[in-house]
Symmetry: C2
Subunit: 472 residues, 2 copies
């Protein structure tokens, strides 16, 4: 039976203006065929293209992000696929399967059931700039906007793999993209078991917010793995290889890992064993949150009409786990206030057998959470006037809470310590300061602490508090 | 094909001596029919029976715990079931199912496939004594031994529920035991979706370490839910009810929840809405670890022959997630050492179609982790002589790491802050001190801190370090 709600209760994509011009910056690079949005902040110089949106602009778009503001992590040049060649794009399902296949996008659209649902993708490096301020890692400096959400449409990867019939002993699905990189194509793997689990919703997507994938996002097809770091969602997909062991692709081994914190760059370079231990590979996202409002450098006049200021931000977790609470502290963790959390994702669950963008909205039976949520809390002006800072932490349904202390590792990944915004009182104005700004953009209290020679490694924001408590 | 390894590589249960005597303590209580082990530490007086083993004895038994040392959480009197009545014990599968059923243990044994695998059960209150030292909660004082591991044998709950054919709209499986309590029988629920997920391994068990369940552990049948708090694994099972909403049993609502930390006992009593929010109900365990060796009050003579002392302990996580690292700090979190972790559970995975205790050892295909792991690290005597304490933290595959700060809540549950053992140097001897001792047993640095009027709420072990950094 077809339950249709009218009017539509769920979020639809924000207004989007597909960029049509190639930016001057990109001309003369291998990406000179890719029109882009000039607002995106480049994190690795001009090329390759690694970008996040300004945090405020990302947040203000709401639950769904327009494709032009969606963060991008490219390792090299974007494969050039003309519109007229999209349907003929082919990829394989091979390895430990009874029926190896070569499938075109045309077949994917014609022969398989299509589904649509929202997924938040997050780069494992989100908030890495903070880690780099504590101690330089081997990764570039993401701010807190290394994540974005879209409605993806495609085919459950489970159906394709089942079609090929995995052989006994098969345990992993390796993926390979079309990008040509110094160490081969980008590739990685996930467990076959996860692919076969409908709760995990792993998809082969060809649409994002109802339109064909744009070049930076994997045109014409990409894998989308909800609840896991973006680095597992291979773009420009060419090969799916079912195997007994994890991917041996260079990028699978030497990227997206959290080596133990005491492994420094020297040790990591000397001893390859650190990189071969699958326990250190990141799959599911950890619990995380950040403050979007107040923005960095925002100034609030407390003599206005408002008696309160509403602090806002986002939170997410991994593995399909729901964020179960978000808390704010104005006294550095001594006491906490409970924020209001909105779960925009849940509004899609009310629909059954409802078609969206050519795919069935496949959410009514699923209980896992694949998306960020937004939280907010009005705070009395008088309280803000008395506070030195605002910190936020979230907890997910595994009952793991974000820690005070940062976990530093050589690649600088999955930073999820409390997000702290400093409050400077300037007469009757409050001046807010975030920890950092993305890329090489100056600003933030971490930079100031570092410049004034304070030790940020001590877990207490460079104020020397914990160091004092450590035996000499 | 039947792959048999010889000799057996996995752990078998430790030597067990079934208690045959009813202890004097239990005579005259409703449990006067239950023989018990006198070593167990009673946490709620004589009756009801809530106990943990001495941590060292538990740890020394190894990966599997004997039924007589296995922790017990009873809400009231233990149902009395004579051996000759076991096979006639009946339970129902009812509610939103096409074929409601009444099933006897005889049928359960005769008509269904039997499986065997190891599961660690953990009480949500494990380590609550530490929370009670910071601020009294509404729960009694578990030490760090509120967990135990056994080989359970039984029938996947999935098969029983599928047999009854859930109806459209069914989302939960409620469970009810035979115990008679002031607020009805003990009952709770889990998601139907989890029951149907073979990776979660939810089982209806009738054997523990190869023998019939003992009275304190659910004789003749109980639910075993791997990776979740023990409070969901209903004992003395009488009813399974498939529903559209979570259990409305009193114990489901008012126990096993982590209310937000700012909800104090008054507020929790005044406002029932806090108890009705399913987001605060605990299901999956969070990442946790503790130090078993050195034991509390252990004295180590550094002038002996050994140049090092091996620190040892356990770690576990929930939802099937593997512990991916365990780290020790001798300088209060400034630097960390990587411990060696042994995964005894993995040794069962090598066997396929292998029978154990009348059930198929169902581990070869499963990738989830249901058990604790043991870690160890030799530390140089010179380092221990210089250190004030040893702290341990673990990380699981969700990349969530145990936090420095305790999360206090009104029921006092899921305490998983760093476990800290203090080192007192007494001439050439090291004297170790754990944070607390279970129940009302005196001892531990938290008790001393509290007695001397120090504020344990500040997240830095009563040393006033963080308070100093908090704005007045």
């Amino acid at each position: 039976d077809c339950i249709e709600k009218d009017p539509i209760q769920y979020a639809l994509p924000p207004q989007s203006a597909t960029p049509t011009l190639v930016l001057e910056l990109d001309q003369g690079t291998p990406d000179s065929h890719v029109p882009r949005d000039p607002r995106l902040i480049r994190l690795t110089g001009t090329h390759p293209f690694n970008v996040e949106a300004p945090l405020t602009e990302l947040f203000n778009e709401g639950f769904l992000t327009s494709p032009e503001l969606f963060y991008v992590r490219n390792h090299g040049a974007v494969p050039h696929v003309r519109d007229e060649d999209v349907l003929d794009w082919e990829f394989t399902v091979e390895g430990m399967v009874r029926k190896p296949m070569k499938i075109s996008v045309r077949q994917l659209l014609r022969d398989f059931d299509q589904v649509t649902y929202p997924v938040t993708l997050v780069c494992a490096g989100n908030r890495r700039k903070e880690q780099n301020m504590v101690r330089k890692s081997k990764g570039f400096s993401w701010g807190a906007a290394g994540l974005s959400t879209a409605l993806f449409t495609g085919v459950p990867l489970k159906e394709l793999i089942e079609h090929a019939v995995p052989l006994k002993g098969a345990r992993y699905v390796c993926m390979e993209g079309a990008d040509k990189l110094p160490n081969g194509s980008y590739g990685t793997s996930v467990k076959l078991n996860w692919v076969m689990d409908p709760n995990r919703g792993i998809m082969l997507a060809h649409k994002m917010n109802g339109e064909m994938l744009r070049p930076d996002h994997g045109k014409p097809i990409r894998v989308v793995i909800p609840g896991q770091i973006g680095g597992r969602s291979v773009k420009w997909l060419k090969r799916l290889i079912v195997t007994a062991t994890p991917s041996d692709n260079w990028y699978h081994t030497y990227d997206n890992r959290i080596l133990p914190t005491m492994v420094d760059p020297d040790e990591a370079a000397k001893n390859p064993a650190w990189w071969k231990d699958e326990r250190y590979a990141i799959y599911d996202l950890s619990t995380n949150s950040a403050i979007a409002s107040p923005a960095h450098d925002e100034i609030f006049d407390t003599q206005g009409v408002s008696k309160s200021y509403t602090v806002k931000g986002y939170a997410y977790s991994g593995g399909g786990r729901r964020i179960t609470r978000v808390e704010l502290s104005l006294d550095r963790g001594k006491s906490w206030k409970l924020a209001n959390v909105g779960y925009a994702e849940d509004r899609y669950r009310a629909y059954e057998n409802h078609e969206l963008f050519g795919g069935r909205l496949d959410m009514s039976w699923r209980e896992t959470c694949f998306c960020w949520c937004f939280w907010s809390l009005p705070i009395q002006i008088s309280e803000l006037l008395d506070a030195k800072d605002i910190v936020v932490r979230a907890m997910d349904e595994s009952m793991n809470v974000q820690p005070r202390d940062m976990y530093w590792s050589v690649l600088g990944m999955m930073n999820n310590c409390w997000y702290r915004v400093l409050i400077h009182r300037e007469e009757h104005r409050l001046h807010f300061e975030h920890p950092t700004q993305p890329a090489l953009i100056p600003g933030g209290w971490m930079e100031r602490a570092k410049k004034s020679g304070r030790d940020l490694t001590d877990g207490f924001w460079g104020e020397g508090v914990l160091s004092a408590a450590i035996p000499e």
